[in-house]
Amino acid sequence: MRQRSLIAITAALAAGALTLTACGSRDDDGGSDSGSGNKTVVIGVDAPLTGDLSALGLGIKNSVDLAAKTANKEKTVEGITFKVEALDDQAQPSSGQQNAVKFVADKDVVGVVGPLNSSVAESMQKVFDDAKLVEISPANTGPTLTQGTDWQTKKVRTYKSYFRTATTDAIQGPFAAQYVYNDAKKKKVYVIDDKKTYGAGLAATFTSEFKKLGGKVVGTQHIDPETKDFSAVVTQVKSSGADVVYYGGEYPQAGPLSKQIKAAGVKIPLVGGDGIYSADFIKLAGAGGKGDLATSVGAPVEELPSAKEFVANYKAAGYKEAFEAYGGYSYDSGWAIIEAVKKVVEDNDGKLPDDARAKITEAVQNVSFDGVTGKVSFDEYGDTTNKQLTVYSVEGGTWKAIKSGTYTG
């Protein structure tokens, strides 16, 4: 009897485990069919496709997919078909690194778009750089990724294969500080961050600019992103007399934090960076989130004339998820790789050369085209030359753009 039930359990567990792995596997229908003179190359996507940040991650994946489909349809590169392969990093640096290794091992991969999180990027950069495989992030804003750890004093580019279409927190934090101090007229801030690369960096650049302008920091806290209980922090915010809260981090924590602050009877806005600029922030913050602010990279995608076509195509393609904060940047990142492949193929008599990866990385450095988010090109550090930012406010259940501009020191 005992033996039998043991076997039954083992079988059930094994079946369960197999079902779960099946969810994660994907059909690989082979890469190249060189016979017809048409070669399929892969653009990798690394983003959190599951977990709390998946709304942003799926927006990235879909947007790159749209770029590849558009290139295939318009035959942008003669003789090359683009295919997108997305891997899930679950916002974890270790998963990101494993994915990077997988992409490097697949010889059909010519470039990778991603990741979402700066901390994940840190774990991937070297893997890609060793393989000379180009990586373009649509979302990383940590300044150290391109300009080295001492970016405030001496800028050094560490990885030649890393680029990004999002502008950095060196600009985003101060831009937010100027808006909060000059336009919103808030003078006393309580600064909270999640201690991650992105959140802590953003909070630091915000704080220094806010102080420089004459504002007062009445308190600071670091929260644990794994928890949902912010009651102790909220009580401190309440007794500090702050008239605004700045949060360096992402929406899964920012939403509940805003909700708990307002529920405690503290009617002050929460301000954050592009990490909270998501429809899910509004859902999590609830009705009290009205008036909360976020800065995000670039001009609002919906309003740029260059983006109208992207928005329409995205809708027409019928993706289940919204393109979210980084859709336009993801499309442009994907397109930068496509442009680079085009250049390399044209320079090599219509064929992909043997050292395609190195050549493509070089070509990305020199791309220049009008993308969804404006002009796309990269400076000597791999940063975008497009330094625009926008402040958004929660109005009527959506993010509404209230001020666009470029940060001036």
Binding site: R2, S5, L6, A8, I9, A12, L13, G16, T19, L20, C23, T50, G51, D52, S54, A55, D194, K195, T220, Q221, H222, I223, D224, E226, T227, K228, D229, F230, S231, A232, V233, T235, Q236, K238, S239, P252, P256, K259, Q260, A263, A264, G265, D280, K283, L284, G286
Partner: protein, 310 residues
């Protein structure tokens, strides 16, 4: 504003939730000496049971006065079903196996339950909003109490009272005490120990379910991973209070909740500790406290004296 009263209330609320979940750990350990690491997931499943009732059973816009009792019922039924099922199919076959085997099964079960909810519950890949109780916060002096917390404030002491009555006064409760003391002798005395063990699992699940509804109302959302950290904390609370002791579980929970809250609020103010304060360090201080208690009182706060009670 004097912060301390509010911080104490924050800590007590958080601690009550740990306590509710810790009771399940403690009872099961007291009777079968098994650390049921899947108990955090029983708690999580309870939260999703309540949510299912609200989203898919009740008509839209049902007032919380009607919805809440039904959601609680849904939470209790799902959590108990899973807990009793786990006992029957995952733990009972291993009852005579070495101690390590059921522990590993528990960890496996915990992951399997998480993944099952993740894979099959619509939208569970992210946090899902939990219905709220209408109405603004109450103010008692300097202390603000959220409407969502009122449920926890009422449910925790009532649950404890019912449990104490059950264990002390009913036949089954006394059977539990006897089984905890010596399962073999209890069996010889005509106690159906299999049934007692099932009751312990089921009761633990009921309290976890109450805790899960409180969690949903307090934080306004549930997610498939919510049981992992909370379960770990509840287990810590059970050990802190003296594992096997039901009052110990509640007191351990309260101590842990208070410790975390006060560490978050005040450690950074201590000179020289600026770097070690803040909420990101709360867990560290909670575990420092646990280690200190176990160093000086290895049986836990209320252990030993009543260690063989259910």
């Amino acid at each position: 504003m004097n912060e301390l009263p509010q911080q104490l209330v924050n800590g007590l609320l958080l601690g009550s939730m740990y306590g509710l979940v810790a009771i399940g750990y403690t009872m099961v350990y007291g009777i079968v000496q098994l650390i049921n690491f899947a108990h955090g997931e029983i708690f999580m499943i309870g939260g999703f049971g309540a949510l299912t009732v609200y989203l898919y059973v009740l008509p839209d816009g049902t007032t919380m006065w009607i919805a809440l009792p039904l959601m609680l019922l849904g939470a209790v039924i799902t959590a108990t079903t899973v807990a009793v099922g786990a006992e029957r199919f995952a733990y009972r076959p291993l009852r005579t196996a070495p101690r390590l085997a059921p522990l590993i099964t528990a960890i496996g079960l915990s992951l399997a339950l998480q993944q099952a909810v993740w894979a099959w519950y619509p939208d569970a890949k992210q946090s899902i909003n939990f219905p709220e109780i209408e109405g603004g916060p109450f103010k008692i002096g300097d202390v603000t109490i959220q409407t969502g917390d009122v449920f926890l404030l009422i449910a925790a002491p009532i649950s404890m009272a019912i449990l104490a009555f059950f264990v002390m006064k009913t036949r089954t409760g006394r059977g539990m005490q006897a089984t905890a003391q010596d399962p073999d002798t209890a069996k010889l005395m005509g106690i159906n120990t299999d049934r007692i063990i099932v009751v312990a699992f089921a009761l633990g699940a009921v309290f976890a379910a109450v805790g899960a509804v409180a969690y949903g109302l307090k934080y306004g959302q549930v997610q498939f991973r919510m049981g992992f950290i909370l379960g770990l904390k509840a287990f810590t609370a059970a050990v802190l209070g003296g594992i096997g002791n039901i009052y110990g579980a509640m007191i351990g929970g309260l101590v842990l909740g208070l410790a975390e809250t006060l560490a978050t609020a005040y450690i950074a103010d201590v000179p020289g500790m600026e770097q070690l304060g803040g909420q990101s360090w709360a867990n560290v201080w909670a575990f420092v406290l646990l280690i200190l208690v176990l160093l000086f009182r290895p049986q836990g706060l209320l252990g030993e004296r009543v260690a063989d009670r259910a």
